[in-house]
């Protein structure tokens, strides 16, 4: 772990709401996108001359298009219910990271230009001109929101700060001020097919490597196919699954499950990415363009089903928006959900009894589960309410003997963000990421001490990368984070698999 250049918060036994310390995060400005990154997304390369005029016009456009945004601007009664709900406020003590204060950054501009009172008596209603100073605050603090929507659960009016921060980013993009992390990545998706910039041949080489590894470990030829025309299932998964740990251990698990289920599947080099950062920057156009790759790949390959791998916000885009963005998907098999989550698929197979599971192979671990914000608060799995909470837990419990939940007010719909979601998973925001992880770290610490939890499982590429990176700051080890399908992979005994042998153990070590 690298040495911290900032103060790492101390974990407390019981979470405390900190006393405010104004301005603690005012210095944190994420790198801005270069002109080439902006232009690739259809935005001006740099701040336009009449930016104020254009920003107000863009805001008007969005208020007209998104009725919700106008309702959110109008309906806050300053009750304060949200103030202590944001992990970034709890970790940084900066009052501008209170959800209401973040919303007010836009609300005060909205009032100035779009309400009668604000036009004539701005001071009376807290309305301000859209000045450079306000724009700078927008840039810094709308890039300190991970769009996790925890605050909206506690808001009596259901005001969704995520939607406000998405709109703010879109307005800034339209005047030429975008953030490097998200916008460079979206450009890579257009150019190369995925966030990482992993070209087809590298992807193929990586997948072949996985086939070798699984064969060496099990003696079974599990395939990890790419661009196979006529396969039944197109797997769309975050490119981090090909690249990083513990993500890749999850990908190995998906392949083993498909193999045992006896279905044909493939990944696509064209849609080799589940993530859709178009959502983070609130850009409908970019979100649509990224989504259309999946449709094109599905049509070209002639698949019957689309299944998404472990990726949080991708599942939100897939579950909630894919049909409107890139549908209709009338060419897919209607007997299956369109699209389907890999956890739904795996639980079905477990319930059908197609998988030979030996739970004791995970006995070296005591697990807990981190609900990813977008999955928890914006989607569902299965056909029952709460399926997005119950299905991941059902899968973990089907493959592990030791499972404990973290405290109730930190899981399910009240889950805390990992601290790196919403397009903030960049090194230049490390201070925010570490501090924002504090509430989750406190919850993890409590079950570690009380129940001997050793590992935390996640179902989102961002969560996995974020935790792996930040938990060492809090005294944990990076390999305490695991993929849910890594646990499935550990416990799944393939048909014809070498019995006993040291190879079985090397996989446990990897966990």
């Amino acid at each position: 772990m690298a040495k911290a250049k900032f103060e790492v918060p101390e974990l407390q036994e019981y979470p405390e709401v900190p006393k405010i310390e104004p301005g603690t995060m005012a210095h944190l400005e994420t790198f801005k996108a270069k002109p080439e990154f902006q232009e690739a997304l259809g935005f001006p390369g740099e701040l336009v001359d009449n930016w104020q005029e254009q920003a107000i016009e863009a805001m008007g456009d969005m208020l007209g298009k998104y009725r919700s945004l106008k309702v959110y601007m109008d309906s806050c009664v300053k009750c304060g219910a949200c103030t202590d709900k944001c992990h970034y406020y709890l970790g940084t003590k900066d009052p501008k990271n209170m959800p209401v204060a973040r919303q007010d950054l836009m609300r005060k501009v909205y009032r100035r230009y779009f309400t009668l009172a604000g036009k004539f008596f701005p001071k009376l209603v807290g309305a301000t001109d859209f000045t450079q100073e306000v724009l700078d605050d927008w840039y810094n603090y709308f890039h300190q929101c991970s769009q996790c929507r925890r605050c909206s659960v506690f808001c009596p009016y259901g005001i969704d700060t995520a939607e406000i921060s998405m709109a703010a980013r879109e307005i800034m993009d339209r005047i030429g001020v975008g953030d490097k992390y998200s916008n460079e990545i979206i450009g890579k998706v257009y150019r190369i097919g995925n966030n990482l910039g992993l070209p087809g041949p590298a992807l193929e080489d990586t997948l072949e490597g996985l086939e070798e590894d699984v064969f060496d470990e099990t003696g079974v030829e599990v395939k990890y196919p790419m661009d196979v025309k006529g396969a039944d299932i197109l797997l769309v998964t975050p490119s981090a699954d090909f690249f990083a740990e513990p993500h890749v251990d999850g990908l190995i698990g998906y392949g083993k499950v498909f193999h045992e289920a006896g279905v044909s599947w493939t990944v696509s080099s064209k849609a080799s990415e589940a993530a859709n950062f178009g959502m983070f920057i609130g850009s409908y156009e970019n979100m649509r363009k990224v989504s259309l790759r999946i449709r094109e790949a599905a049509l070209e390959l002639g698949v019957k089903r689309i299944i998404f791998g472990e990726c949080g916000h991708a599942w939100r885009v897939a579950y909630a928006f894919l049909n409107t963005l890139a549908g209709p998907f009338d060419f897919l098999d209607k007997n299956y959900p369109v699209p389907q989550h890999i956890l739904e698929f795996t639980l079905d197979e477990i319930e059908k009894g197609t998988l030979n599971i030996d739970k004791s192979l995970n006995d070296d671990m005591v697990l807990t589960f981190h609900d990813s914000c977008n999955v928890a608060r914006a989607t569902r799995m299965g056909d029952k309410p709460g399926g997005q909470f119950d299905i991941p837990r059902a899968v973990i419990k089907a493959v592990c003997n030791n499972y404990v939940d973290m405290p109730e007010d930190t899981i399910r719909e009240a889950t805390f963000c990992c601290g790196g979601g919403g397009g903030l998973l960049t090194d230049d925001l490390m201070e925010l990421r570490v501090k924002g992880a504090k509430p989750r770290m406190e919850a993890l610490k409590s079950v570690t001490e009380e129940y001997g939890v050793t590992h935390m499982a996640a179902i989102c590429a961002i969560c996995k990368s974020q935790f792996t990176k930040v938990i060492p700051y809090y005294g944990f080890e990076m390999d305490q984070i695991v993929s849910v399908h890594q646990l499935v992979s550990n416990a799944l005994i393939l048909t014809g698999q070498n019995s006993e042998g040291e190879e079985d153990e090397s996989e446990e070590d990897a966990a």
């Binding site: 772990m1 690298a2 790198f31 490097k180 992390y181 460079e184 990545i185 890579k188 995925n194 966030n195 990482l196 910039g197 992993l198 070209p199 041949p201 590298a202 080489d205 990586t206 490597g209 996985l210 590894d213 975050p238 490119s239 981090a240 090909f242 690249f243 990083a244 740990e245 993500h247 890749v248 990415e273 993530a275 990726c311 998973l425 090194d427 230049d428 590429a461 961002i462 996995k464 990368s465 990176k469 990076m478 390999d479 990897a510």
Partner: protein, 110 residues
Amino acid sequence: MPIEVDGKTFETDEEGYLVNLNDWVPGVAEMMAKEDDLELTDDHWDIINFLREYYEEYQIAPAVRVLTKAVGKRLGKEKGNSKYLYGLFPYGPGKQACRYAGLPKPTGCV
């Protein structure tokens, strides 16, 4: 913030990655390591050289598993894991080692 090696200036981006990958010379890695208070040993160079070879073939840094497997094969099984790599490059093999090797930064959810 450009870096200077043997009187020659190398342009880097805001995160310290080399802008022109073709400019790279071993001195760049030495200089970057020095700025991080890290002394490059043969073990570090094994990794840096592998990254450069892989990049030349595939135009991307190797996946962690590809890297650990290659290291395991070349240097022995006990070294074929992330812990060994993080021991060498505390900021992470993907990012710190790639930067020293003159490769672009891996982006995305990693």
